[in-house]
Symmetry: none
Subunit: 193 residues, 4 copies
Amino acid sequence: MARKRAERVARVERTAARVFAERGYEGANLEDIAAQLDLRGPSLYHYFSSKEELFLRCVRGSADEVITRLEAVAAAEADPVERLRLLFREQVLIEVRDYPDFLPLFVTIRLPAADLRERLLELRREHEAVFQRAAEQVREALGGDRASASLSLRVAFGALAHVPDWYDPGGPMGVEELAERMAATLIGPFLRS
Amino acid sequence: MARKRAERVARVERTAARVFAERGYEGANLEDIAAQLDLRGPSLYHYFSSKEELFLRCVRGSADEVITRLEAVAAAEADPVERLRLLFREQVLIEVRDYPDFLPLFVTIRLPAADLRERLLELRREHEAVFQRAAEQVREALGGDRASASLSLRVAFGALAHVPDWYDPGGPMGVEELAERMAATLIGPFLRS
Amino acid sequence: MARKRAERVARVERTAARVFAERGYEGANLEDIAAQLDLRGPSLYHYFSSKEELFLRCVRGSADEVITRLEAVAAAEADPVERLRLLFREQVLIEVRDYPDFLPLFVTIRLPAADLRERLLELRREHEAVFQRAAEQVREALGGDRASASLSLRVAFGALAHVPDWYDPGGPMGVEELAERMAATLIGPFLRS
Amino acid sequence: MARKRAERVARVERTAARVFAERGYEGANLEDIAAQLDLRGPSLYHYFSSKEELFLRCVRGSADEVITRLEAVAAAEADPVERLRLLFREQVLIEVRDYPDFLPLFVTIRLPAADLRERLLELRREHEAVFQRAAEQVREALGGDRASASLSLRVAFGALAHVPDWYDPGGPMGVEELAERMAATLIGPFLRS
DNA sequence: AATGAATGAGTGTTCATTCAT
DNA sequence: AATGAATGAACACTCATTCAT
């Protein structure tokens, strides 16, 4: 029964995450989210105490899964450059293949309340920290100044954040190839700086 | 008097653009925009017939100025690589120094109505086209396959779109230095591909 | 100059009457009325102090012309039955040929304010009184009870009020024929009762 | 519970129909309709998705009941003239005794939207068709040209539409007597033509 | 656990009207 | 005389949230 409830909560979160990702925070209304679960709006209050809480749980849930995955990659045995490259690669796969809601929910979304924005920012920092640690290790290995490495990483974040805006999964380039090419491109600036 | 009116319209547009950029389309309410102009909500209807029209004019106005500036750069006498590099540089200056509303209004913003999205997309395509033509000339000069050039440009667009998210104008790096470094980094993939 | 002003006032009244007749009192907005006069909304306040006053003048002006015409018919030398018949005939011509605004403005229209309704009712009673006097003379001539005569007249008023709802000026029946046939039909009940 | 809801919907419809009939479509505001039901304005949206839909349901509901009643009369065993006479009689009873909202809602009302007007016109045609079929049978029985019969029917419709404007239920003439006298008067033109 | 009912707060929009120019 | 500017009042409609069942 506690089991059942947990499953239901998870189902609500997944559905809500998708709707938030599609329509944004303000554009997502509880009645529509509930409808996708064969429920009516007010029923969501059995699982979450407010729209804000529902959103935060969605976002935290996705973040946990994604960050766990990235940390597994970051912990792999490999030289620093290869590890960072693999992180970029993994992030592309996450975005376009495995967690299509991740980006809209974390980066693109606009939030009306300051506390929501703050909480989301924390999660985003946690996500970015995985990359930052890997980038730091590259810098230690190859040398180069911090400012350049930081800028290279910002370029990578920005580029990664817009992949779903232009990548066409039905097009000639497969997801894996996309991931490899993006990773190769994004690792570039770290090598030259 | 036509002069005066035009000035007032322009003032409304500028203010509205700022509010739209700060709070998004749905988050921006007419009463607040009007308040920043020392007006009450309905008074805006002297200048625009609807919120949608107000938004479109804001966006079109900014787009026109920005694209004109970029096209001036694109038309300069220089070798193709240098021209593309200067475009990247100019875009950074536009974003962080001259038109801080440009990005939130054009890229980040989420729109509830399909026709608004379509109109915005057209403007975005027009903006991107300036870069695409310059990138194509680089490719003709240096060789390389189209897919690589396209991906390099997408990386650049993404990176450029996120500059205001992380750049701190009060920090140690000046705006011009930022622009130079971003341009140098973003031109990189075009040279190696 | 007083002359000129009177002409302008009359022109405003005619235009406003048409718009009121077409769209009803609430549906008619001052900006649109003014636009048909190549003016802007607030300019109407040079001629009338409020929408209510504008409406009342429209309605009074039409009423005066129409009632004058009907009284001319009612004063003609003829036997009572023929006079009433000619009144019915005249009313049809007024409605469908000469004052197409008359009915919507006087009978169909719905008014939001009680005092407006009261004023309009007075004018309507004045209009009906012309017919009532003629009907009373018919009753004196032919005999019959008051209630029957009254009901016959009410039938006639109702029938007359709906002629523009169904009569097609482009159809096979001409306006004069329509007027004759309506008059013949409406006089009927007075003869039999 | 479905039962309860249906009852509530019906109560909303009845109340709304009354308010629409009293004040017209534009003059009726949702807050007032709701107040008569001890509700606040937005609560009406539990039962209807828009003011337009609310109005259409009011009108369709009344039309269904009224037309059903008239068709029962039209189907009675009787000679054609008597049947038409009984239809006129029934219509009077409907208007002044049983469905006082019918006429203002169907005939008098002015609608701001073209689609609303069209829908209402369809219902009005359906209502008129009952009379038209009966009138046609009279014509087949007695002879006479179509144009005359049509005009006689139009006179009847007009007369019937205005009965509530003048009939005083507190006066000396009872409702049934009114109905008989109106019916007798309106059938007249069909006999002489 | 689920929901039908209800609502307060808010939002875009309309419009008659006022006023300074 | 005409009007551009401005506004208060009103109104349809949305939505997160509460509560009794």
